[in-house]
Symmetry: C2
Subunit: 302 residues, 2 copies
């Protein structure tokens, strides 16, 4: 396969696997979360375990058709629900955790808990977004618009590894990863991350990430436009057809995310990787379809 | 006036002033530069002094109709032409410098020359882009996608001042300036620039920049969408209607620039401010219309 076209492609891939993931939903007090979960059940992506908010779940019409497939565990509040979800994950009884109406920080506190948590010491936790742009021929994965502010070399190495792994799981044989910077010049003095890019490109050539192409630095236009790459006389196997993008920092990634959704009609999904199970941590403002896409992305990693 | 609609608005404003600016064009070896200048002459924005490339200029059909308005000064090469343009600026004989086929670095070397240059010691030099997005109701100014990698507090203060000045000259009475960051939280520890934003907002309130509204931190979506701002329950006079945007660093600004031109059909113009006269330093790949817009932007500042 040469490209992941869109989110439908991911959903079809997961359906074909016929292996619904066991997903814990923490404190699904809001309708949008429940309706996204209903859509995921309808598409056979998940078997849900709701933690907390029993009354709202039983009363939700969108979930009624799936009453026999739903498990509910009671919890006293969001923090209690988060702790219970993390316990289920630690015991191998669920594959994905999704948050409802609790702050991401509160869920992460349970995930990162030194005694009872599910992030192995030394493992990098980071965020991957997938974005579908109507005027672009393929889905783009990128990191990190939400969790790591200014990645260290080790964190950036993990970002490449996680995105290549996700692309492989989605069926891409040799994903193209572009390391983004405002210019094509490596400039170790003013932009140390460009020197780090050079190292990661070497690691990729040595097979560290499995089958993939990692190259850069490129600006985002060169990374995603064959014409722009040709105009600058750049020869690279990435060929302006990046499947995955590493941004220098959270500011650049966040601008990318928000600019595309505001002005290019893009739809997104996101997932936190690193913990024992992937985390779906949508923003409160995210649409039901965006939350559904995020669930699909997490399922692909579980 | 409540908004600068688009580049046509700027061009109409300049035409109405009936004061063509004296522009030196350094080494206009390429057709695109000459055709952008021809368009600027046709719109009565500039009276040109070409420096170098006499043969190409005399042979250029797009310039023929304006032969009587064109001055040509000979130069041995791009560097010589740059030095001569800077001398004319220092002597007050031109209002704008535009580069043709020389590297920006070479022009800047002449501009920054300690003995013969035109940047006063202690004056900040930075880049302003104007972007017209078809799906957005107003033109946006932003800084800095090209010159300053990681602005210091003093540089950021100058960026606000320059953009407010430009907006005033374009006829905006009280421009709205948004300070962009990946979230709305001020976090002095992890994101020191957000603390700097707070200081600049105070300076603005004290009248330092003249009539304007400066607020933030906002993500780019909140800065430019009233709906997004309302959804996050933010009250600000910026009201999701930013006229000008300060980005935290060159990486974020560059991603904004490139994402909009690749996926949102945006057109741009850019100008370097700080030296005695504004500089038009387009990229080689820029279209004729983008170079023309850049000239208009520089004229507005001259």
């Amino acid at each position: 396969m040469v490209a992941i076209d869109d989110f439908q492609h991911i959903i079809r891939t997961l359906k074909a696997q016929n292996r619904p993931r066991r997903m814990a939903i923490v404190w699904a007090e809001d309708e949008i979360t429940r309706s996204a979960v209903a859509q995921a059940i309808a598409n056979d992506l998940v078997v849900p375990t709701f933690i907390g908010c029993r009354q709202q779940i039983l009363a939700d019409e969108s979930l009624l058709p799936y009453a026999d497939r739903i498990e509910i565990i009671d919890a006293t509040d969001g923090d209690d629900a988060a702790a219970k979800a993390v316990t289920l994950a630690r015991e191998g009884r669920i594959d994905v955790i999704m948050k409802g109406m609790i702050n991401t920080d509160n869920l992460l506190r349970a995930v990162l808990n030194k005694e009872h948590g599910i992030l192995t010491k030394g493992t990098v936790m980071t965020h991957i977004t997938a974005v579908e742009i109507p005027s672009h021929p393929k889905l783009l994965l990128f990191s990190d618009a939400a969790v790591i502010p200014y990645p260290t070399p080790d964190q950036r190495r993990a970002q490449v590894a996680y995105m290549v792994d996700l692309a492989h799981r989605l069926g891409l044989k040799a994903p193209k990863v572009a390391m983004v910077h405002c210019s094509e010049k490596v400039d170790a003095k003013h932009f140390p991350h460009t020197q780090n890019y050079v190292e990661l490109i070497e690691f990729a050539k040595n097979g560290e990430f499995g089958e993939c192409i990692v190259d850069g630095p490129y600006d985002i236009k060169v990374a995603c436009s064959t014409a722009a790459m040709k105009k600058k006389h750049i020869n690279s196997l990435v060929n302006g057809e990046a499947d995955a993008i590493v941004f220098p920092d959270i500011e650049a990634a966040n601008v990318f995310y928000k600019t595309l959704t505001l002005w290019a009609n893009a739809t997104t999904g996101g997932v936190v990787v690193g913990p024992k199970v992937p985390l779906v941590v949508p923003s409160r403002g995210d649409s039901p379809v965006s939350k559904f896409h995020s669930i699909a992305l997490a399922c692909a990693l579980a």
